[in-house]
Every structure is written in C-alpha cells, then in structure tokens.
C-alpha cells in the first residue's frame, strides 16, 4: 500500500510538472536575474512587476544571497537561462561580481544574447566591453551632489560609512574622494568610518548592529547637525532607524529610492494599493517624517533606482529585440528610462567603447518638497 501511494504521488508530480509548462508562446523570452529581498527589495519587486506585466515572456531567477562566496552558482544561474534557446536577452540587476565572467561564458555559445546590467559592481571599463547596456546612478557626480544636499539640510559635518571591498570599486572610491573635496569646499568636516563588511565573517547582522550602535555614538560626539551616508544597501534601514532616533541628517541612500530603507525604518506597511505607486509611497513617508519632527532633515530621489533598473532594463531589452530602439543611441535609451521613472534625468556615457550609462536625478526633501 505504502509503495503504491508513493508511486501515485510520483506520477501526479510528473503530470503536474508537465502540465505547468508555460502556455502561450511569445516570439522571444527575456531572463531576469535579481537578488532576493534579503538586502534590498527594490530590484526584486521590479522583477515581480514586469513578470506580471508581460505574462509568459519573462524567466525570473535570483542570485545567491551570499553572492561573493557562491560565484559559481551565480554564473550557473545565468548560463542556465542561456541554455533555453527561447531566451534572447538577459537582464541582471544588480550586476554582482562574476557578471563579466558569466557574460563571457554565455557569449561563447550564444553570441546573440543581449545583456542589460543594472548597478554593475565590477570595474566599468571591463563591464562596458562585455555588457550591451549598463544602467547605474551617476556615482562620481553624486560625490558633489550629496555633500551639497547635506549642506542644504543644515549639516556641519559629513560622515561616510564604508569598508575595503566597496572602496576597491573605482566609482565608489572616486565618489568618496570627491565628497571629501566637496565637503572641504563647503566648509564641512568629512569623517570616514570603516564599518564591518556584510560579506565578512559576521555577515549582514554584524554590519547592521554596528550601524545601530555607532550612529548614536557619533551624534553624541559631533552633535545633531551631522549628515550620514553609507555605501551598502543592507545598512540603509538601520541607518535611517538610528538617524530618526538621534535626530541627525540623511541626504540619500546608496541606491537612492523612497522604498529603500525608509518603509522598514518607519514601520510603514506597503499595502497592495501602495505597491509600485511611488508618489503615494513618497507621500506616506513624508507624513510620517513630518510627524516625527524630522521635516527638512531627510531626503531621497523620487524614483527607486534599483526598481527602475530592473523595469527599464526589461523594457529596453524588449524594445531592442523588437528592433524598435538602437541601444547605442543614448537619447533614445534615456527617453525610455525617463518615461518609466516619470522624472527627467541627466544621462552620461562612461566612454565611447560601450553603452555604460550613468544617470542623475534631482532630490526631494521630506517636509519641504513633498506636498
């Protein structure tokens, strides 16, 4: 009896499995690879949104949470997508280390596959040679815009949290140096604090705990008019929580977005009506921040950059496969991205050797710019 019931179950699993093969076949499929919601939700929610928008066209995969250690598994995820001949483009957000190796492996057997990379972590001159398009906030330019914004919010000092792994990323290191110069120009003291690496031995919890403990320490030492900035996604929520408690200043996150860290720190529930509706989310955050007496001391970009990278990445890939857009035309790509973001942006190309696009968006200050 036992044996038979196992057989029946096995047969059922097989039948259900075969039946669940996607119905309806579009001309091509696009693969999306994002992180899970463990570090930052935006890129994953963006993928959920496009999967629902284009049913049957997208294959969504996630890369390992521990992507630094499990690089081979990450590469296998991408080559696995490329093994499906229907896949004609792959959108990766964020482009964690190993992306270049994965693209090369895929292009050996499938040179036709189009790669769109959001937030590449690897070195821009190498990424631009391999990826067809890359989208990333303009980090070097933010080296000036963030201290300026901090000054506008009333900061007298500027504190930058990071760790060696991030400081070996050229754009982030350049941004740090530019921030220091800009702070000097604006008459603000620049303080660099090394935080634990979330990919280190202690993992993310150790890094988050450090932020929760260090912010009050720094505020006690330097006073309330100090602006905080951290280069790591996982640190944003504890950072905002600690800043709200201490009454310090927060110009923007590493990946600027209303949904990055703010909802979690404020205890704001993203209901079904709010999900994906950024103006409504901004309004809800604004009300809460004003209520806590932090008006004019916190800011962000009106668009979720990680969310945008995923959604715009898929849109660009789709248009390119339909031959409706020339990916080398920066203005055309910019138009697509702006349309999805609903705001105007400043686009910049890393060099003529590829399509490595950096973009900059104006900030909104809570309690001031939001009505």
């Amino acid at each position: 009896m036992f044996k038979r019931s196992i057989l029946v179950i096995a047969a059922l699993v097989l039948v259900l499995g075969v039946a669940s093969v996607s119905l309806g076949a579009p001309a091509f499929k696009i693969g999306i690879v994002t992180g899970t919601v463990s570090q930052g939700e935006d890129e994953y929610r963006g993928a959920e949104y496009v999967v629902a928008k284009y049913p049957g066209m997208l294959e969504h995969r996630t890369y390992p949470d521990n992507f630094m250690a499990e690089q081979e598994t990450y590469i296998a995820q991408i080559t696995g997508l490329a093994a499906d001949p229907a896949i004609k483009a792959i959108v990766v957000n964020q482009g964690v280390p190993g992306t270049v190796a994965a693209i090369r492996k895929v292009k050996q057997l499938r040179p036709d596959i189009l790669f769109v990379i959001g937030e590449p972590h690897e070195d821009p001159p190498i990424v631009e040679k391999e990826a067809d398009i890359s989208l990333i906030p303009n980090n070097p330019a933010r080296g000036q815009s963030i201290p300026q914004l901090a000054k506008k919010l009333g900061a007298k000092k500027f504190l930058h949290y990071s760790f060696p792994r991030h400081m070996s990323m050229n754009d982030l290191a350049t941004r740090r140096d530019l921030m220091e110069q800009e702070c000097k120009k604006l008459g603000m003291e620049f303080i660099f604090v090394t935080a634990p690496d979330p990919m280190g031995e202690g993992g993310l919890p150790a890094a988050q705990q450090f932020i929760l403990e260090d912010v009050p320490r720094q505020v006690a030492k330097h006073g309330k008019d100090i602006a905080f900035f951290s280069t790591n996604c996982g640190m944003q929520e504890p950072l905002i929580t600690a800043i709200l408690k201490a009454g310090a200043i927060f110009p923007e996150q590493c990946c600027p977005s209303p949904t990055h860290g703010y909802p979690g720190a404020l205890g704001l529930e993203i209901t079904e009506e709010l999900a994906g509706n950024f103006p409504a989310i901004v309004k809800a955050i604004n009300t809460d921040i004003v209520k806590r007496g932090m008006a004019g001391r916190m800011a962000t970009w009106p668009v979720a950059t990680s969310y945008l990278n995923t959604v715009a990445g898929v849109e660009i890939a789709k248009l390119a496969l339909e031959k409706k857009i020339n990916i080398k035309d920066m203005a055309a790509v910019q138009k697509v991205v702006e349309e999805i973001a609903g705001v105007s942006m400043k686009f910049e190309r890393n060099s003529e050797k590829g399509q490595f696009y950096r973009y900059l968006v104006g900030s909104i200050i809570f309690g001031k710019d939001v009505k």
Binding site: A69, Q71, G80, S168, M169, N170
Partner: protein
C-alpha cells in the same frame, strides 16, 4: 558519470568490504548525495546537456583545489582550510603576470612559477603556526585564512602605490593607490583549458539515436593536469616522505620516537598543499577569465573542504577518489538545487532560500553521517 560512487566500491579507497552493509557504511555520504542530486534533477526537469556542461566545467575548475587537501589529511593535520592562503599566492602571481602583460600559456606557466616561492613561504608560516596548535589545526587554519585576508587587503589596497611602487592605470584605482576590484584576465582566459586544442578541442556535439548530446566542451589539458596530479599524489604516498607523513598522521608521539622529525614533516605537508592550492586557484581563475581582487580566494577553503567531505573523506582519511567523487557530487547538487528549488516552489526567491537550506543542510547531514560511520565502524571492531 553519476553512478560513480557505487561503481567504485571495489577500489581500494572504498574500503575492504564488499557486503551491502560495508558499502553503505563506507559510502553512505556519497550515496546520500547521489540520491538527493538525482531527486533534484528529476524535480528540476533539468536539461541533461546543460547539467553535463556545468558539472564538467566546475569539475575542471575545482578538482585541483580539492585534491590539494589530501596531503595534510595524510599527515594528520586535518582538512587544511589554509588553502585560502595558497589561493592568495596564486592571485599575487596573477597580478604580476597581468601587470607585465604576459599572455597565453606562457603567462599561465609564468604565474605558476612565480606563485611557488610565495606559496612556499606562506605555507612555511602557516605550518609553523599549526605546529604550535597541535590538535586544533583545522580551526586554526580557518582563522589563519581570515587573518591572511586582512593582510592581503592591506597589501593590495593600501601599500600598493604607496610603499610598493607600481603604476598601472588599468589595474589600479583612479587615485593611484590600490588595485581595482576586478582584474581582467582576458589574455590568460582558457590558456590551460585549451592548451591541448591541437590534439582535440574537447568539443562534443553529436546525437545518439534521438538524444542530442552536446554542445559540451571538455577542458582537456586541465583534466590531463588533474590526472597527473592524481598520479603524483598517489606516488608521494609511496615514497619515504609519504610513509613518514602517514606515520606522523597516525601517531605523532610514536613517529617522534621512531626518529621522524614530526614538525618538519608537518610543515612540508602544509607547504605542498599551499603550493598546490596556488596552482589550483590559477586553474580556477583562467577558466573564469576575470578575477575579483579581494574576494576570489574567500570561496576556496570552505567549498573545497565541503566537496571532499561529500566524497566520503573524513578528517583522518582522504583519498583521490573521495576528492573526485566529492567534487562531482557537490557541484552537481549546486547546479541542480537552484532550479529544483525554483521549480518546486514557483517563486524564484523561495527557490534560493530552499537552495541554501538544502545545500548547506545536506553538508550538515554529511557531517552527522560521518559520526554515525565512525561509531558503527568502532562497534564492528
């Protein structure tokens, strides 16, 4: 390929038993992994061509590193998590070779040569520390890996460009101090894997009956080198040095009384392992084609140790077959589990959580099975 563990039961490494209970006892961990992997393959409805390609690729990348663990086990040092240090030596050699733009097989060979003195020196230091921590070698070597990582970052992120003069705008950060986080190895890419293309390019693309086989690509030269390493490792165990290592591994005190220089033998074992790990890391990185300056080595120790344990090795006994079977099974599971997770749950991130639960849970079970093995073999005596 997947039937290997059962097929190899009669090899000397599989133990002397031939009865079912002996097979189960000696190979319980690999058999357990095999069952999980096959279940995963069925659940994921995996394309067999993709599976073969991935597993062959990952075997070529990792086998050398896993085999480098055998000698220290023989000498009673347990599983050497310190191969991370060897990997750093290999990477240092790669930085030098890339800086001077030596490309192709010559570049690879040069990197292999440069890495030897660095790895030997580091291995000597690790060996000396481990000699002061007898009985706690494994945890010590693991912490040594973390410690060395700090020094590695200090050297390549701070000292390079300040204390150590170097100018290279491609490799170094814009400020002129420290290396960038990615180093492009395009000149060395596949330099070893494809070094025997003149013989056969390792390409399989045919069909048997209705089944399509391929396209697969075997890293022929790398597999050949791994083969040579297997032979050499077996050979070393039969030399005088190998016998001394075994004696030290069985009982340090008796070996000492028998006139063997225990400390020296242990240091030699660690140095060999470190040099092999440096070469293993070179093989790994020439296959990937890019190298993450500050993190490529971190993944080495844990995964190699996990692989050899999956192959049925213990901290006291490890053979070539344990390494080979373990590498194949461990990486099969890692290729299969993400897709299996995703297919079973339908939501990609739940698939990822399931995967890490499965992959690491299974390793934990493997360790528990070892304990069971150990106990039952004691009872049978």
């Amino acid at each position: 390929m997947l039937e290997k563990p059962t097929a190899q039961v009669k090899t000397p490494a599989g133990g002397s038993g031939v009865g079912i209970s002996d097979i189960l006892r000696n190979w319980s961990v690999p058999i357990f992994f095999l069952v999980i992997s096959i279940a995963g393959i069925i659940a994921a409805r995996l394309d067999i061509n993709y599976l073969v390609n991935e597993v062959v690729g990952r075997f070529g990348r990792n086998a050398f590193l896993v085999i480098s663990l055998i000698i220290p086990v023989m000498a009673g040092l347990g599983l050497n998590f310190g191969i991370v240090v060897g990997a750093m030596a290999g990477q240092t050699a790669l930085v030098i070779v890339t800086h001077y733009q030596v490309e192709g097989l010559a570049g690879f060979a040069l990197a292999a040569v440069i890495s030897v003195p660095i790895a030997m020196l580091l291995g000597l230091l690790v060996g000396k520390v481990l000699n002061r921590a007898k009985g706690r070698e494994m945890v010590t070597s693991m912490i040594m890996g973390y410690f060395a990582n700090g020094i590695y970052q200090l050297v390549f992120l701070v000292l390079l460009g300040t204390l150590i003069p170097m100018k290279d705008p491609v490799l170094m950060l814009g400020s002129g101090i420290g290396l960038r986080n990615t180093i492009d190895l395009i000149g060395l890419s596949y330099s070893l894997d494809r070094a025997m293309d003149w013989l056969w390019n390792g390409f399989v693309f045919t069909s048997v009956g209705a089944a399509r086989l391929g396209p697969w690509r075997f890293p022929l030269c790398t597999l050949f080198i791994i083969g040579i390493l297997c032979v050499l490792t077996t050979f070393i165990t039969r030399t005088k040095l190998g016998q001394e290592m075994r004696a030290v591994g069985q009982d340090m005190h008796i070996a000492q009384v028998a006139g063997i220089n225990v400390d020296r033998t242990r240091i030699i074992a660690i140095m060999m392992s470190t040099v092999l790990a440096a070469w293993g890391q070179l093989i790994f990185l020439q296959n990937l084609g890019t190298f993450n300056t500050y993190s490529s080595h971190e993944q080495v120790g844990m995964f190699s140790v996990a692989a050899i344990l999956v192959g049925g090795a213990t901290t006291r006994r490890a053979t070539i077959w344990n390494a080979i079977v373990g590498t194949l099974l461990f990486h099969t599971l890692f290729v299969v589990s993400p897709l299996a997770g995703q297919r079973l749950f339908g939501v990609s991130q739940v698939g990822e959580y399931f995967r890490s639960f499965l992959a690491y849970g299974v390793i934990a079970v493997a360790l528990a099975l070892h304990a069971w093995q150990g106990r039952s073999s004691k009872q049978s005596k």
